[in-house]
């Protein structure tokens, strides 16, 4: 056992510096991405074309934004199941506000994100102050958000096309060839890395994830930290929805349904412990890219849905078995 770990150490020691500093899970995840691309390229060399890769990164950025929020919550040892309809809500509200007079287009995006943050705050109050298990609170708020959107769509003949700003954010390109969505994702990623490594809030998140009791007794206002984390998750979910609406040029019911499980899977495949307290943001990025590529390659290879589900599930299991295992009992 100890021999093996020493071998491992010496192997790592030979890697270049920045790789050495990465956690093994993150490295493995990036390795899996390369493997996936290689397998894809056996089917069609177009899987390696810059066009295709950029397209994947663009699409991945929506999931990436959502997963960033999910990661904060998972690091605390909680989970946010309200992602689907908070996303939808963010998208629909942004579109709605965009159609609202002169100021509309200007405040559309912030308004959408704000709605998401408020719903996140609601989750946060439930989890932190009422101490209901997060799995349950967020499940309930998801149903409530869905209900609100149904009422809203049915009752207000909503304006649901994306504003030009939303379009631009998701599909435009300040740097020619590089979609803005990717830049947005990079910016949010930089902010997350800063948050996790350089701020006391980030430390508190890890601390609470490891032992909320100890964090509380250390004088951290744990309830506020948890509440804010859910607000961040809600805001980022909604922002993901806004981007998605920009991409699709409109908001629609249930548009977030396809994001919940991939977001959780991405965070976990990136080496974050679902129990909280452990994980690094780069891993989440790797997880997002991995999931997006996997889905896309399976889709383009025209595997029937049944086979696709089986492969998708099996690949996740295999990758977790490779590096997502808990340490042995003894």
């Amino acid at each position: 056992m100890s021999e093996a770990s020493e071998d491992h150490l010496s192997f790592r020691a030979r890697l270049p510096g920045f790789l050495r500093r990465m956690e093994p899970a993150v490295l493995t995840a990036f390795g899996c991405i390369l493997l996936l691309l290689f397998l894809g390229s056996l089917y069609s060399s177009n899987f390696l074309s810059p066009d295709y890769l950029l397209q994947q990164m663009k699409v991945a950025s929506f999931l990436g934004v959502v997963a960033a929020g999910m990661m904060v919550v998972i690091l605390l040892g909680h989970i946010d199941l309200s992602v689907p309809w908070v996303m939808t809500m963010g998208a629909m509200m942004a579109c709605a506000v965009a159609g609202f007079g002169e100021a509309g287009p200007v405040i559309a995006i912030p308004a959408g994100v704000f709605c998401g943050a408020s719903f996140g705050l609601l989750n946060g109050v439930g989890v932190a102050y009422l101490r209901i298990p997060s799995m349950i609170v967020t499940l309930a708020t998801n149903v409530v958000a869905q209900g609100l959107m149904v009422v809203y769509t049915g009752g207000f003949s909503p304006q649901d096309s994306a504003s030009p700003a939303m379009r631009w954010l998701a599909t435009g390109a300040i740097i020619p060839g590089l979609p803005n969505a990717i830049l947005v994702w990079i910016a949010i990623s930089a902010a997350m890395i800063f948050l996790f490594t350089r701020t006391s809030y980030g430390r508190a998140v890890y601390g609470i994830g490891n032992s909320e009791r100890a964090a509380y007794l250390s004088g951290v206002d744990t309830r506020r930290v948890v509440m804010i984390a859910f607000a961040i998750s809600g805001a980022l979910s909604a922002f993901g929805g806004v981007l998605l609406a920009g991409y699709a040029s409109k908001a629609a019911q249930a548009m977030g349904d396809a994001y919940l499980l991939p977001a959780i899977a991405a965070v976990v495949l990136g080496g974050t412990s679902i129990l909280g307290g452990r994980g690094s943001y780069l891993g989440t990025v790797a997880g997002v890219v991995l999931i997006t590529l996997l889905q896309s390659i399976l889709s383009v290879m025209q595997m029937p849905e049944a086979g696709r589900q089986i492969v998708y599930g099996a690949v996740i299991i295999v990758m977790l078995l490779l590096y997502g295992r808990a340490p042995p009992d003894r």
Binding site: L139, L217, V268, Q309, V311, I316, I317, G324, P327, D329
Partner: protein, 326 residues
Amino acid sequence: MSEWRYWLNEQRGTLIGLAIFLMMFSVYIANHPAGLTANVAQTAANKGALLAFVAMAQALVVITAGIDLSVGMIFVLTNCLASWIVVGAPMPTALGVGAVLLTGMVCGAINGLLVIYGRLQPIVATIATGAVYFGLALLLRPFPGGSVNEELADALTGRLFGVVPSSLVALTAVVFLVWLPFRRSKIGRAAYAAGSSEPAAFMSGVPIRRGKFAAYTLAGLLAGMGGLFLTFFTYTGEAAYASGSAYTLWSIAAVVLGGVSLYGGRGSAIGAIFGAFAARTTGDMLFVFDVDPLWQPLLQGIVLMIAVSIGSLALLRVRNRLDWFR
């Protein structure tokens, strides 16, 4: 404290679940145009029993401090399988039933193996196996169809002596044949112990792995029973992704309403049954109250929200803030 106080303390979660259910159900019945007729009871029982099976399955896993996000998909998979093989003469039908239940158990066992021996976190492991099970269901039933032995189906979804819904009888039988033996066996206690504190259980020489494995496997079995029952109820099989995930999510809500602690070690599958019936009644409420159709989902969300918040009333009694953190 006297003996019954200890008993009350042990059963508190289950009793709260029962209370929530009774409260909601009486409001429902009081407002039902037909009142509590045998038909109405049968309808409610059949619908509730389905979720109850899945919720029991979930409860078993939750007691070990795990979670099974694939129960809904096992439910769908066994439904699709049953729509192929639970047909014909009594003998083939019986074999079919056996095979369906075995399939459920195998699915549960795979989850168990991955979680226990693969040392994967239950949440993600079962998300992944759920995808696989759904894929298999889709292979079996690319589109809805199939059939089932209708006599058996009618017998199990009908009424006994014209009044007692047979689905409730079946559910009770399962409680006595599966749950109680498990609860009172060494293995069952190991499952509870592992859920309450795995390191302590390990140090005490409890067969943790066997206990957890049994819990996951029986969960598969119960979900399979649910799938079988779904087939009896609908006469067909359908690989419906949305319905699989809906059952998974509602099973978690049911388990919590039934007083099973998501942190493990506490609660019972009987509570989960009450929780399932309570959760189902939230949907029925919309039927008896005249709510604008577009407002119904919102209302259901709010009812669910209130129901799950009830538990936090206990918070008012907490005087030592450290008790917040389990």
